[in-house]
Symmetry: C2
Subunit: 203 residues, 2 copies
Amino acid sequence: MFYLRSMARIKTDKNISRKDVIVTKAAALFREKGFKAASMRDLAEAVGVEAASLYNHIKSKTELLHELCFSVANRFTHKIDEIEAEPINSIQKVEKLLRFHIHEMINHYEEVYVSDREWKHLADPYLSNFQNQRRIYRKRFAAIIEAGIRNKEIKKIDAPTAVLIMLHAISGIESWHRSTQKIGAEELEENMITILVGGLVNR
Amino acid sequence: MFYLRSMARIKTDKNISRKDVIVTKAAALFREKGFKAASMRDLAEAVGVEAASLYNHIKSKTELLHELCFSVANRFTHKIDEIEAEPINSIQKVEKLLRFHIHEMINHYEEVYVSDREWKHLADPYLSNFQNQRRIYRKRFAAIIEAGIRNKEIKKIDAPTAVLIMLHAISGIESWHRSTQKIGAEELEENMITILVGGLVNR
DNA sequence: ATATATTGCTAACATTCGTTAGTTGTTTTA
DNA sequence: TAAAACAACTAACGAATGTTAGCAATATAT
């Protein structure tokens, strides 16, 4: 028996739900075009399905953005939990945190980028929650730097400004990804650490 | 004589065209909501006029984006022309360029932000031109850093990576603007210079 | 093998969007 | 002051958007 028209399903490996496939494709699309400019029909095409079919797996377009933003934010929150508890000095904590940011930006580019740039399009209460979570994260990061300043490990600088510089500098890895003549990922990481940590340490 | 319905015109001072008023309001709106999410009806309301009336002064929504992006890009191009010609060392050139970026980001926040984040929505040939202009600018910036490395003024680092860090770090001033507890603009500037230049210099 | 749950499809909806046409009111020019 | 230029308005268009309803095909469980 054969069918004139076959309904090809979204391909999934074990342990990867169809929803995960959609979320992943959404990240790539939102990164490329921006959340607002990316249409559900674009996403459907990327997934290989009709637009309406997506709604068997997801609740709404905004839900995709929630999932992306919070999965990224939660990873950073867990990491700073971990690092705060370690018995190392402030500069080492900053360096560990920066390296984590760099790895995330290199390896989960699309999601991290979307979370960074498109969170504005979240709707309340997600919007407020997200902003809160980020604000708290930055405060904890700043607190690590302030501890380093008190120990004289770190220059006397405004800690929130330092945090702002670090986080945005790392988001510049976006340009590296789009660049045609990329240096290696490890070299990129070492250069970033050299410049950023070098700008903090007290000598 | 009086009118039941009055047609209030867009207010203009001398030397400020109605188009300039629209472009300025567009910058604020595009910054707040993003280019795609900001509608012409939103813009009309901000200007105090009906949406259709805008088209007596502008050609299209995209034209607004062109004007914003290129006016910003041209200011940076002119500045680097100027700085390249000065008889000062590389670190001083970098510092001057950074201070210019910081001033622009502080004083022309909305336009610079829009140019930085929303250029993706330009259409060709503007898109290609813009990307080209930015690429060339970054190369010239990198060349200044490379000269500094050759003179041993600057650490041995990958110059394009350094440029990427600097430019994105400065775009972080966006967070400063949105922050409720802002430090002063001068203090912000000095902190940024301390950290960024401090990360470059060879000691 | 049959029943049930999934997942796909087509068609269509209500909105919103950028933009144009045509007109009226207001300012500037001759 | 009349004519010409300018800038506002109302109305509407066609296209695109997110989403729903209802049905067909496929996979899974009994």
